[in-house]
């Protein structure tokens, strides 16, 4: 009995290794393909790199929000606020037109992309902790509404505090990273060097995937899951609830700030309207649609939603029209699909949720909860303590 158990465990280990290897293969292959895409984009005249830049930023944001919502189970409806804070931090520090630079409040060594990037990371984390510390004790949906409020306050502040932020003028230009020497040539980061920006963002994205994966498997990551599943149980196992939640909130915020900083530099312009409530909602939709708590699901969901709005609608427009032409359906023939953007997007969200409520690629642990692997587990899960006790009593009765 014991031997067979050990054997099955060995097989499990081997299976796990094989799974891990195939996963690495998939990710590596995917990353390689994406790294090679710019050549294709250029050769085929697709010209979609600008969209991909925005899409990558959104995907990084979705990964960050996944820490807060997916891992720690804290619903955040104002995630774009930290995005804005990161972007504006970078703008304040590096733009020659910013209030702080003009008045010489910023030391010279900070007025560059990389130091600003790091500072954005910490500023956003600071605001995350400041907001989180008094509010994390609220129950779930109340926390959601506080974050929503914060998400509205931040852009309104940037819009109206005109002396510092320039208000609706926005801030531009913003310092780009210095050229990186690469095989003899330089990788430059001007507004039109989209290919280099694409690679930089891809690299940052992959780094984030790696970091978040390590985090998920760490002691902290496991405490997040424990807190998400059952706060009381987690606390009685010795997990410090406040600290654990705050770390999730702060780390999530810092990811957002980081992404904001890159976004500001890539497009050389920040404006309060880029960080409105709808952005928060869009990122949340990516996380949930892709699969709450599963980083690959979130990446997939993010790519899907972000590219739907920017790419798919336009790509699909012509086929729909020619379909209408071929089959003589005047309505389709003259129909501009981009007019139905909201409708198609909304329908997609609703249908996805109806068909796969756990997301496209659900988190393994959640999947196990929702669709137990075997009848036995399902039965065991649905059995209550009371049933168990009665069964025991019945057994005892039998024995007697």
């Amino acid at each position: 009995m014991a031997a067979s158990l050990a054997a099955s465990q060995r097989i499990d280990v081997r299976q796990d290794r094989r799974d891990a290897r195939s996963k690495t293969l998939w990710i590596g292959g995917g990353a390689l393909l994406m790294a090679l895409y710019p050549f294709l984009d250029n050769a085929l005249g697709i010209n979609r790199l600008g969209s991909f830049m925005a899409i990558f930023v959104l995907v990084i944001l979705a990964m960050g929000l996944n820490i807060v919502v997916g891992y720690a189970g804290l619903l955040d409806l104002g995630y774009a606020a930290f995005f804005a804070i990161g972007a504006y931090t970078n703008a304040f520090l590096t733009s020659p037109t910013s209030y702080f630079v003009r008045n010489d409040y910023i030391p010279e060594f900070l007025r560059h992309f990389w130091p600003a990037l790091i500072l954005s990371f910490f500023t956003a984390a600071l605001f995350g902790v400041l907001l989180g510390a008094p509010t994390l004790r609220l129950r779930g949906d109340y926390l959601a509404i506080v974050t929503l409020g914060f998400g509205e306050i931040v852009p309104t502040f940037f819009l109206n505090a005109t002396t510092i932020t320039g208000g609706t003028l926005g801030i531009n230009p913003i310092s780009a990273p210095p050229a990186i020497p690469f095989f003899g040539g330089d990788l430059r980061f001007g507004a039109s060097d989209q290919r280099n920006w694409y690679w930089l963002m891809l690299a940052v994205g992959l780094l984030s995937v790696f970091l978040i994966n390590r985090l998920y498997d760490s002691r902290l990551g496991r405490s997040w899951q424990a807190v998400r599943e059952d706060e009381v149980a987690a606390a009685s196992m010795g997990i410090n609830l406040v600290r654990t939640k705050l770390l999730a909130f702060g780390l999530g915020a810092s990811f957002s700030g980081f992404a904001g900083s890159i976004y500001a530099a890539a497009f050389q312009y920040v404006h309060p309207d880029q960080f409105r409530f709808s952005v928060s909602i869009m990122i949340l939709a990516m996380v949930i649609l892709g699969g709450l708590g599963n980083i690959y699901g979130v990446i997939f969901g993010g790519l899907l939603i972000a590219s739907f709005d920017r790419i798919l609608v336009e790509v699909l427009r012509d086929p729909v029209q020619s379909f209408g032409r071929t089959f003589n359906i005047p309505f389709l023939e003259n129909h501009d699909l981009s007019q139905d953007r909201f409708l198609v997007f909304g329908l997609a969200l609703v249908l996805m949720m109806l068909l796969r409520p756990g997301g496209l690629i659900p988190n393994a642990r959640r999947r196990a909860e929702m669709e137990p692997e075997s009848e036995e587990i399902a039965a065991a899960e649905s059995e209550s303590l009371y049933d168990a006790r009665r069964e025991q009593e019945a057994l005892a009765g039998e024995r007697a």
Binding site: R139, E152, I153, L289, P357
Partner: protein, 324 residues
């Protein structure tokens, strides 16, 4: 600067009237949230559809400036009921098609479905009425639009304006609120709702048809939104596909501010928001140099955040514990 009491009263009147409008929407939010714990993002859009429907009803039946007063009042009530019915059925229909299937799904799935539905409804509204603001067909005789109740009825010599429209908003909101309270606390269905809100499984064990009870909550919440839509169209004299967003956000905030799930709390929260809104738009610049109406959204949400920090259950909310 001296405290200007007349001006202050004026802002109070404006705040209360817009607060009453928000309250109707907030009640729908709270009703649905209390039972299914769903932040129904599509609620603002249901309100908007009710508003557009009201304009269609009035336009189809038609009232002219020389219609008799009775005809106008009758028309207004008919349009109100029609848009209540429309929005109620719409909301219940959405529940039937989308949310009901997601009752046992992860908690956030219905939230995303609601976001999706709000997009769909907005696009339908664009197809229906175009993307620009529309002016509703005239219903209120022109001479009443600027009619000041205080001077005309009470003969007061004052700069304070209390319009028929302000009274009309309260005249619709207060009866609906009383009716709703009666419904929830006195009728069988209302009791079933409260029971379902408390513990869905226990309610089901007691023989309550949970799905039907939830459908009622959506129906009533939608009807209130429809009423609010009809009023908003004539109170604001304009309607647009985007109008649900800001109203919906304010209403949701109001519901949380007052203590979500608590009917009276929602109304108080909504009045608070209405008053803060009008004070920030108007009154505050007298005291704060450089204050402008642009800050208003920030003020409203700052009030919310502060209330949440110091009274985490909302103004009237009771201490509740997360279900374990």
């Amino acid at each position: 600067m001296d405290f200007n009491a007349a001006l202050f009263t004026q802002y109070l009147i404006i705040g209360i009237a817009s607060g009453a409008l928000i309250a109707l929407i907030a009640l729908g939010y709270t009703l649905v949230y209390g039972i299914v714990e769903l932040i129904n993002f599509a609620h603002g859009e249901v309100f908007m559809m009710g508003a557009l429907f009201a304009t269609t009803v009035v336009a189809t039946v038609g009232v002219t400036n020389d219609s008799s007063g009775v005809a106008i009042v009758f028309m207004a009530i008919a349009a109100l009921l029609a848009s209540m019915l429309f929005s109620g059925l719409l909301n219940a229909g959405i529940d039937r098609v989308a949310y009901r299937r997601l009752r046992n799904a992860p908690k956030l799935a219905p939230l995303i479905a609601a976001i999706g539905i709000s997009f769909i409804l907005q696009n339908i509204a664009i197809y229906w009425k175009g993307s620009n603001p529309i002016t509703p067909p005239s219903l209120i005789p022109t001479e009443y639009v600027r009619y000041n109740v205080l001077t005309e009825w009470f003969g007061l010599e004052t700069r304070i304006r209390l319009r028929v429209l302000d009274l009309a908003v309260l005249g619709v909101t207060i009866p609906l609120l009383i009716g709703l309270t009666w419904f929830v606390y006195k009728t069988r269905t209302g009791k079933a709702m409260r029971a379902t809100a408390q513990d869905r499984d226990a309610a089901a064990l007691m023989g309550i048809d949970v799905n039907r009870t939830i459908a009622y909550a959506f129906l009533i919440g939608g009807a209130l939104a429809g009423a609010a839509g009809m009023i908003a169209v004539y109170y604001n004299n304009s309607a647009r596909f985007q109008m649900g967003f800001r109203y919906g956000l304010f209403a949701f905030t109001a519901a949380v501010l007052g203590g979500i799930g608590n009917l009276a709390g929602s109304v108080i929260g909504a009045l608070c928001i209405g008053i803060v809104w009008s004070m920030s738009d108007g009154f505050m610049s007298q005291y704060i140099e450089g204050w402008g109406a642009g800050w208003t959204p920030a003020v409203i949400f700052a009030v919310l955040v502060l209330v949440m920090i110091f009274r985490p259950t909302g103004l009237l909310g009771e201490q509740t514990v997360d279900k374990v």
